[in-house]
């Protein structure tokens, strides 16, 4: 057995990769379901019914996909430039805090102004908090993986402090949650009798926007160049620090918008359970999409469907919804292995 470098990778192979990986994940997942004592067919049928089986199920999946598109984009843009932002979770909460700060009555403007303002506030908050790791990296060469990751906990504790203290809503009967977003700030639902809200439209627009920036602009070229080869980028006159800063602003901003979308669209108020790790799942979304902004939409919807479907499945048959995490983890691993196989070819025999 030998491993050869592929001279060129056909496009169909790259497109096929996530699909194959998901197939592998479902096959291996089936073993776990068997182990739990249920029929995989029954389980997967329940999963698919729960995520795609009805209009309600579909809107639920899409509503769950919305924050994942934002955080997936946040990770994809950053990883393109090899800036390892693991802090989307914290940036998401910063965005949510900004939306709470601006959107709970301090200002009241008509919705067409109020809603964009909330998104801008959230994006700015996400950017600002990410500036800390960026400055530490560009000026003192501190590894951003550590700083962005640890900041998540700092921010979560800070949110906790706010919710137990100054921001605690007296109307919430003792629950640690902030005041509601005022009516003009709430993102309207786009399908009647569902929780699917305007956030997904914003998310889709951001995906297309990021794709266009990466593909057609000087910024996009610089981001990709820095990600591939810093030495050559410097030789081309691209400032590494400037590019990292730019990428960080995009990434933090997108993650912040995820927080706005959740607070103003789904929940209506800030709590500590706002995000069940959307920031981290965003990394999986980005990797599964191979860092492609349009691919992020598809992989976010896919992962969201698995989570929503697994919840439904665990309600109908006796399989814990942790199976969703297993499926996501295996598809991610398969993609990583598969990505290697798109660059190398295994040749059997001599």
């Amino acid at each position: 057995m030998r491993i050869n470098t592929r001279t060129n990778t056909p496009v169909w192979l790259i497109a096929l990769l996530p699909i194959l990986s998901i197939g592998v994940a479902f096959i291996i997942g089936a073993c776990f379901i068997l182990w739990a004592g249920e029929s995989p067919f029954k389980a997967y049928a329940a999963l698919i019914k729960g995520s795609l089986g009805s209009t309600f199920a579909i809107t639920e999946s899409l509503a769950r996909a919305t924050p994942l598109i934002f955080t997936g984009l946040a990770a994809a843009v950053a990883f393109r430039a090899k800036f390892w932002n693991i802090g989307a979770e914290g940036q998401l909460y910063c965005g949510a805090m900004a939306a709470t700060l601006v959107g709970t009555g301090v200002i009241d403007l008509p919705a067409p102004i109020m809603i964009p303002m909330l998104f801008i506030a959230g994006a700015v908050a996400g950017c600002l908090i990410l500036l800390v790791p960026v400055v530490l990296k560009t000026h003192m060469k501190v590894d951003e993986v550590v700083t962005t990751l640890l900041l998540n906990f700092v921010i979560l504790l800070f949110v906790n402090m706010l919710l137990e203290g100054p921001w605690k809503d007296p109307m919430a009967m003792g629950w640690p949650q902030a005041a509601r977003i005022i009516d003009n700030g709430v993102l309207p639902t786009i399908v009647a009798k569902s929780r699917l809200h305007l956030g997904i439209i914003v998310a889709l627009i951001m995906s297309v926007l990021m794709w266009a920036i990466l593909r057609f602009t000087v910024w996009g070229y610089e981001i990709r160049a820095v990600g591939h080869n810093q030495q050559a980028s410097t030789f081309y006159g691209i400032s590494i620090n400037k590019s990292v800063l730019m990428v960080a602003l995009f990434s933090g901003g997108l993650a912040g918008m995820a927080g706005v979308s959740e607070v103003a669209g789904l929940k209506g108020y800030l709590t500590l359970t706002l995000s069940p790790g959307f920031g981290y799942t965003g990394i999986a979304v980005a990797m599964l999409a191979q860092l492609h902004p349009i691919g992020v939409i598809i992989s976010a919807i896919f992962l969201a469907s698995i989570y929503v479907g697994a919840d439904a499945m665990s309600r109908t048959i006796d399989i814990p919804n942790y199976i969703a995490d297993i499926l996501v983890a295996i598809s991610l691993l398969s993609v990583l292995v598969g990505a290697m196989l798109t660059r190398y070819r295994i040749v059997w025999g001599k």
Binding site: V218, H228, N229, Q231, A232, F235, Y236, G237
Partner: protein
């Protein structure tokens, strides 16, 4: 009986045949030169000898005994020692420690330094390889490091010594000294295989010459029957033409450095008080052993660093903005030292790399990439410079070194630059590509550009330059008219052993 015998060695990688039925032998007390271009199969053959690769067919015998294929240990035990082009020494250990590294069994608790010390001194006396066993490797010069590598091989009782491009990093004088040592060694019965592509050295040192081309053994001659021309032709497979030198009347100064200094950043040499002027229609060759400040000088001229003191005038005006894009826009062509790591981004497509420093200047309203225009100009340059590739959308990493260099030349020279900073433009290329690159530089000079050619290859410098400057320890001597200075003098200046009054003229 032959000391070392390769019999019908074949090795291929995929569809590439690296070694095709190669048989050759090395006698006792003989210096055999292995000559060939990059990619001719020299390295593969040596890797097979050292057990890094297993040959597809054929075998190797040492003193009549078959060598176990694929075992480095077996090769070392058989008495084969190798001195690599890139040193394999631990910088933070002493000479003695480096030499015994790997020779002692793991199970031994106390290392036998005393005995090793004695053996080392014997060896060093016997072959005239003078070295202080207690010196730290980091403090040694390049020539001394190489001596350590040779002693390391001898310490392991090597009777066959393979030297891979040993003179690439040496000054002419250091090379001379190395040759004396080598001749001493063969007198004592060692056999030496000398790998190189520098013809005059091979003619000087070896008894017999074997030429490889495209994986095949194409010629074998005894040195006294060989000439530079015949060897070059054998190596390349056709007559080699180098660009003809032509003296032109030099014009205005394009670059003037006045007392330019650059303090060293991590791991690189600094530059102190450099004065140098480069004029239109002239090539100034900058000779020097690597690591004496060439990188610092190049980085200033390429806009990657600004001097810590001093002044740089570009086309008569003081340069205030050290920025690659700005320099390129004002008419500077930049040829980087490391073409694959610095000159192009391998993962990006050809047309994207053609943009290079002009990414912003060629963009629509400086923001949107003008892909249509970029692709069509890439197509044009690919034709004009005969870049072998699958077209402008091919991934750049698939190109050979020579084609990558053509891309870089096309990118920078097609704008009719007035100043060219070329840092080792021909290094590591094959003969065909070398003459192409050199011809392009000479053509640019004829069109009126001033060129600073940084190179470690003195032949190249003497063939192309109008004037020659020498850099040593961050200081520059010269430039001297190339017909008024000898290779020997330049060599002495490169090692800091000769100082002249700086002949600085505007």
């Amino acid at each position: 009986m032959k000391k070392l015998q390769f019999s019908k060695i074949c090795k291929s990688f995929g569809s590439v045949v690296a070694n095709d039925n190669i048989s050759l032998s090395l006698g006792e007390g003989e210096i055999l030169s292995l000559l060939g271009e990059n990619g001719a199969g020299k390295t593969t053959l040596m890797n097979i000898l050292f057990g890094h690769y297993v040959s597809d067919k054929g075998f190797i015998e040492v003193e009549g005994k078959k060598l176990t294929p694929g075992s480095t240990r077996a090769s070392l035990d058989a008495g084969i020692g190798m001195v690599h082009q890139h040193f394999t020494l631990a910088d933070n250990l002493t000479v003695l420690e480096n030499i015994i590294l790997g020779t002692e069994p793991l199970t031994r608790l106390w290392s036998q330094k005393k005995q090793a010390y004695k053996k080392l001194q014997e060896l060093s006396k016997r072959f005239g390889l003078i070295i202080d066993p207690d010196a730290k490797i980091a403090d040694l010069t390049v020539g001394e490091k190489q001596r350590v590598e040779i002693i390391k091989a001898l310490y392991r009782d090597a009777s066959i010594l393979i030297l891979d491009e040993p003179t690439a990093v040496l000054t002419p004088q250091e090379s001379e000294q190395l040759f004396r040592v080598l001749k001493e060694m063969v007198k004592a019965g060692l056999s030496i295989m000398f790998i190189s592509h520098k013809l005059h050295e091979i003619l000087e040192i070896s008894d017999r010459i074997v030429v490889l081309r495209h994986g095949k053994l194409v010629g074998e001659v005894t040195t006294k029957n060989a000439s530079k021309e015949s060897l070059a032709e054998m190596m390349v497979g056709r007559k080699v033409t180098r660009p003809a030198y032509e003296k032109l009347k030099k014009g205005k100064a394009v670059v003037e450095l006045e007392n330019v200094s650059l303090n060293a950043s991590e791991g690189s040499a600094s530059l102190s008080n450099v004065n140098l002027a480069i004029h239109e229609k002239e090539i100034i060759g900058l000779a020097g052993v690597a690591g004496n400040g060439q990188t610092a000088l190049a980085s200033i001229l390429q806009g990657l660093a600004s001097p810590s003191s001093g002044e740089l005038k570009l086309f008569g005006e003081v340069l205030g903005k050290y920025d690659p894009c700005y320099l390129t826009e004002s008419g500077v062509a930049r040829i980087p030292e490391d073409r694959t790591k610095e000159g192009v981004i391998g993962e990006m497509e050809l047309w994207e790399n053609f943009l290079g420093e002009e990414l912003r200047t060629k963009a629509k309203s400086r923001f949107f990439i003008d892909k249509k225009q970029a692709v069509s100009s890439a197509e044009k340059l690919i034709q004009e410079y005969d870049i072998r590739c699958e077209g402008p959308f091919a991934s750049t990493r698939l190109l050979s070194g020579g084609n990558i260099q053509k891309l870089i030349l096309a990118r920078s020279l097609s704008n009719n630059p007035r100043f060219i900073i070329a840092n080792k433009p021909a290094r590591g290329l094959d003969e065909g590509a070398i003459s192409f690159v050199q011809q392009q530089i000479v053509n640019a000079k004829t069109k009126g550009a001033g060129v600073l050619l940084i190179s470690e290859d003195l032949d190249e410098i003497f063939e192309l330059s109008d004037r020659i400057a020498v850099i040593f320890d961050g200081k520059i001597q010269g430039p001297f008219d190339s017909n008024k200075v000898s290779i020997n003098e330049v060599g002495l200046m490169m090692s800091g052993e000769m100082k002249t009054d700086s002949v600085y003229e505007n």
